[in-house]
Symmetry: C2
Subunit: 329 residues, 2 copies
């Protein structure tokens, strides 16, 4: 469901409408069926909403109607108007999705955007969506965020912290961990026999031999070596600015970046609408559209479903790859 | 000339060969004619090299031969092999180009890449190429670097310093200065009546209201306001990751970025070969190709002349725009 005041509902309705042209695998949504019916009527689009009692009904219903597994409570969800009264439903939807995926009743979880502040006002105590998922999955390892589009996959080693905190937060161990998790996921979920990781430097020109900063040689280079010693085709540190053009991208399967904008600038420049957020290092498959709740345009039928469509497709592909025999390195 | 051991000579020869198809304005090169003849022979390309006595001869000779204004000394310039003995010639070439431009004997200066370390070994005491040009021009203001391609112009407010030094180096005054210089240059040299500047934030999501860093609100926002008060259409701070996709780029004429990679990642991702480095804030027009000396491939005929061609074209366009009556705001 995600935040009911946001665009999650309408892009889910739209995704179902495009199920054939977009080649989607069957999905169900954990939401309030009445809310989705009202939303479809408001938008003037024809989406038959079918309440289901269990995920198993999805495949049969999906061609003709959008399967909705109902939440315990009704959700008002006035577009654009945040309401702390919906917080329990938002959290319940996530909790339920993860439980079903862990039980094997769903192949993957695709999360619609949530609004962290309103959840925190209602008592939510997690750093974010991903951290909450990690707790629900009882994983001790830090999950790793990957952004992926058709042309590029990026992994920011540090994510949501002020730029001035990045140098101290970067450690060799953290880079190695992110690299290992990434390589493992590329192998298991993306069918890549021998994943190649390009590791970005932190400073301009990757430090230019120490003249523009010490971290590239002191922190990042040892991490690249450790990854290589673990049998991973890692290389770097590379100057951040020259590693994302088309010819450079062909040399690797994912770019390990040192901070938020270094990873997100190239991918959002290349493919603003089609990027998918994938969480690696969880025992379940989880993707999500790479945008927020977009409260300002919610309920108006303006929101693009492109990223959700890409997230649904990627989740299905990852699930299919993980069922095939593993790629031989 | 630039560094004679680098690719400067061969891309200049190649640029002359493409003078018609690339629509180039006449240019002359300040170099050793004998060196260029040897280089052309080595590469097996036919480029008649014509020694000229003064820049004024360029227009007549250019259609049929590459005009070369000779340096006082011969230059050996073995491709790929740096030699401190060439340092004086490298510096003399720059000095001469600037002097001719300041006298009005040349409309603009296009510099081929130099190799700073070898010049420093020979006693060069400037932070870089641009700083040397500023000194030759006797400008007290700090020159501003702009990278430009057909789809995007970016200006890094801080350039060659370690990432951890960026937050403290960023001041409101420095951002305002860079913005003023950029707006003035867009007006004067690019014929833009009312330049629009998009100003990037420093932190992820432009600080997310202070939760991800304080500089966006404390340092950058006042700079945007000051630019607006000076009559410039500036807006921001914008989240760095969402300001470089095609729809976002249509909203501004240049992006003011806070550090090296924030500016250079998007432009090199979009157009790796065709980017041009433009120095703003000098009393002369100066462009240069957006790459280094590429010693590893020098003398092999592999180097792409695309960025030098773009630099030559942009210099000519800037010169033409500055001769037209100014665009009305």
């Amino acid at each position: 469901m995600g935040e009911p005041a946001g665009i999650g509902g309408e892009i889910a309705l739209e995704a179902w409408r495009q199920r054939r042209t977009a080649g989607l695998s069957p999905f169900f949504i954990i939401d309030d069926p009445a809310r989705l019916k009202t939303l479809a009527a408001r938008l003037g689009i024809e989406v038959p909403v079918a309440e289901i009692a269990a995920p198993q009904a999805t495949a049969e219903i999906f061609p003709d109607a959008l399967p909705v597994l109902p939440l315990a409570q009704a959700v008002a969800g006035e577009p654009g108007r945040l309401d702390p009264a919906n917080a329990d439903a938002v959290i319940e939807s996530i909790r339920c999705a993860v439980a079903l995926a862990r039980q094997g009743a769903a192949a993957a979880v695709v999360t619609n955007p949530i609004h962290k502040q309103i959840l925190m006002e209602a008592g939510f105590r997690h750093l974010g969506h991903t951290e909450f998922l990690a707790e629900l999955c009882a994983t001790s390892d830090a999950p790793v965020m990957m952004l992926a589009c058709a042309e590029l996959r990026v992994v920011p080693v540090t994510v949501h912290l002020p730029l001035r905190r990045v140098p101290e937060a970067l450690t060799t161990a953290r880079i190695v961990e992110a690299g290992m998790t990434t390589a493992e996921a590329l192998h298991r979920y993306f069918g890549i026999a021998k994943p190649r990781l390009a590791v970005a430097g932190l400073n301009p020109h990757a430090g230019e031999g120490g003249q523009l900063g010490s971290e590239d040689d002191a922190v990042i280079r040892p991490a690249v070596r450790a990854l290589q010693e673990a049998g991973i085709e890692a290389f770097g540190p590379l100057p951040g600015d020259t590693m994302f053009h088309p010819a450079a991208r062909r040399r690797y399967d994912a770019a390990l970046c040192m901070y938020h904008d270094q990873a997100l600038i190239p991918i959002k420049t290349i493919d603003f609408d089609g990027g998918v957020n994938v969480t690696l290092g969880l025992p379940i498959i989880r993707t999500s559209p790479d945008h927020g709740t977009a409260l300002d345009i919610a309920g108006q039928g303006k929101a693009s479903a492109a990223s959700l469509l890409a997230a649904l497709r990627m989740a299905a592909e990852m699930a299919a790859a993980s069922r095939r025999p593993p790629a031989v390195p």
